[in-house]
């Protein structure tokens, strides 16, 4: 097992490269909750550790912008990926162990080869929330996660003892009126109950959320393309092809990195990490 100094050095490389938080999970910790084929050792033989980096999403200024399109195309820099690559380089070059970025983009349907949400939980960086089960970091709230898998045995960080959700303010609100800011802002996609200031049940209608949060993207392009192909009237077809909806759908494919989602309402009302969104 590597020393604390080694793990600190790895984390420092990640933080210096732009990660907001870095945590470590043991590769074998994934066995309990992850089906075979989606575990770190299925991606890197001999995997011992998973290092997870959380990066900032939209700035506080972007959250305040009254033009909703800015949040849709807010120019994420996804620094967590850069941090992961910097740490991979460090582990391979300086420490002589294999290190790969964990694949996180869906390869079929919505299924990634490895869950970054689960990796963040196991690395002690956050816990699932009422809000679309998004992982919330207790200090920063919404972060974006990337991970690396390595054969380097690093001491793991424990999962958080106290969940980030519900926030004390939400627990108090639930006690008063039986709901929370996120459940109230999006009762269509979210539902849940709380008991003793802990999440008791939580349901998230992913398909409904997807149709709102990703109105543009691969799905909308496929939908619009099928409608175009099925249209027999050339004039109408032309109108559909050059329409704003179709053009935006194509643009969203191009700007996939910048246009990640088109609905942020459950996160906009979330008090976890709000202090970082409340500025001068």
């Amino acid at each position: 097992m590597a020393t604390d100094a080694v793990v600190d050095a790895v984390k420092r490389v990640g933080l210096d490269a732009g990660a907001r938080v870095v945590g470590v999970a043991a590769a074998d910790a994934f066995r309990a909750g992850v089906p075979e084929g989606f575990r770190p050792e299925d991606i890197l033989p001999g995997a011992r550790s998973v290092v997870v980096a959380g990066g900032d999403g939209p700035t506080a200024g972007a959250w305040r912008c009254p033009d909703h399109r800015v949040m849709e195309i807010t120019g994420y820099d996804l620094r967590e990926n850069v941090a992961i690559h910097a740490m991979c380089d460090y582990i391979e070059r300086e420490l002589g162990h294999y290190a790969v970025q964990a694949p996180s983009l869906p390869v079929h349907g919505h299924e990634p080869p490895m869950s970054m949400m689960h990796a963040a939980e196991l690395a002690g960086l956050g816990t699932r929330s009422f809000a679309a089960h998004i992982i919330l970091n207790p200090e920063y709230g919404l972060l974006y996660y990337a991970a690396l898998i390595t054969t380097l045995p690093l001491p793991a960080d424990p999962p958080l003892a106290e969940p980030a959700c519900p926030h004390p303010g939400c627990a108090a609100m639930y006690k008063r009126i039986g709901t929370t800011p996120c459940l109230r802002v999006c009762p269509a996609c979210l539902s849940g109950t709380m008991k003793s200031a802990r999440i008791e049940t939580s349901t998230y209608d992913r398909e409904k959320c997807h149709s709102r949060a990703q109105t543009y993207g691969i799905g909308s392009f496929q939908k619009a393309l099928l409608a175009v192909v099925d249209e027999d009237d050339p004039a109408r077809r032309r109108e559909m092809i050059h329409s704003d909806f179709f053009a935006k759908s194509i643009q969203s494919l191009g700007f996939f990195r910048d246009s990640i989602a088109q609905c942020f309402e459950c996160m906009r009302v979330c008090p976890v990490g709000r202090k970082h969104r409340k500025l001068k």
Partner: protein, 288 residues
């Protein structure tokens, strides 16, 4: 602008240094209110960020000297470098919030709707004193010429740089050429009256643009990308012959168009001729 009492006196210098360290060639600050006189409503800094005081503008990531002299026309159209300057903008926005505690909004690249950007980065660069409009259109910096821009709208009261009066265009070589031949490199390479996009003249040391055919320019600069895909898709669907349809789908045009959509952030334009000909755009420095 009322200056909050706790705003560090060295903040402007410090953040300009951070921008340069992060990869910007130039950095300047515009007064958010200065946009009101030039930008339409909904496209001003305060429309994006309520309470906006300043706009920090960074410039850089321009094609290198080697890119301009490369003999392949595809190099500049597929190896764009704008992404690098956007990264600097994003980094500044995060740093302003985390280090100073003021709101900062990275102005998204691309368009908000149609051809209209969220906020004009060219105007931002002008108001931040980083460059001036050229006869060809792009903002040129007197020292570095053509560059790409990124901007951060913020409530932080940075010290403001005024617009510069020291225009990069016309360059001395263009003034000489105008005297000799009554044209300039950009006007000659793309003349409006001969199927091109530009028309203008020099009045003393001042460049006066008299016409610019944006529609025509667009069909050249953006031969691929979203518009190209829409065009070829319509053509394919209207084609009754099955074999010809297959040819269109697998054709070079469709293939390049799909590539350009995928790499939209690096494949910004497919015509650079007015800038290639411009002596102010990329300097006259000879390389080995």
């Amino acid at each position: 602008m009322s200056m909050p009492t706790d705003f560090p006196a060295d903040a402007t210098t410090r953040f300009k240094a951070l921008a340069l360290k992060s990869g910007a060639t130039l950095v300047g600050v515009a007064d958010a209110a200065a946009f009101d006189a030039h930008a339409p409503a909904k496209h001003r800094p305060v429309d994006l960020l309520p309470g906006a005081r300043t706009v920090v503008v960074v410039g850089g990531a321009q094609p290198r000297a080697g890119d301009w002299v490369a003999s392949s026309p595809w190099l500049l159209s597929t190896m764009g470098t704008t992404e690098r300057i956007q990264g600097v903008g994003r980094r500044l926005a995060q740093a302003i919030e985390s280090e100073l505690g003021y709101y900062a909004l990275f102005v998204p690249p691309g368009t908000a709707a149609g051809e209209a950007p969220f906020m004009s980065l060219m105007l931002a660069a002008e108001l931040a004193g980083l460059g001036t409009r050229s006869l060809a259109g792009p903002i040129l910096n007197r020292e570095h010429g053509f560059m790409y821009w990124s901007a951060v709208v913020t409530t932080a009261p940075f010290d403001v740089d005024g617009p510069t009066t020291d225009a990069a265009c016309p360059a001395p070589a263009c003034r000489d050429m105008w005297e000799r031949e009554h044209t300039t490199p950009c006007l000659r390479v793309c003349p409006l009256d001969a199927g091109g996009c530009l028309a203008g003249r020099l009045e003393g040391d001042r460049a006066v643009r008299t016409a610019y055919d944006a529609g025509r320019c667009h069909t050249r600069v953006h031969t691929h990308w979203v518009g190209g895909f829409q065009k070829v898709l319509e053509e394919t669907l209207n084609e009754p012959d099955r074999a010809r349809r297959k040819m269109l789908v697998y054709g070079d045009f469709m293939t390049r168009t799909l590539w350009s959509i995928t790499y939209s952030s690096t494949n910004i334009a497919q015509c650079f001729e007015c800038m290639r000909a411009c002596p102010a755009a990329h300097g006259l420095k000879e390389m080995r």
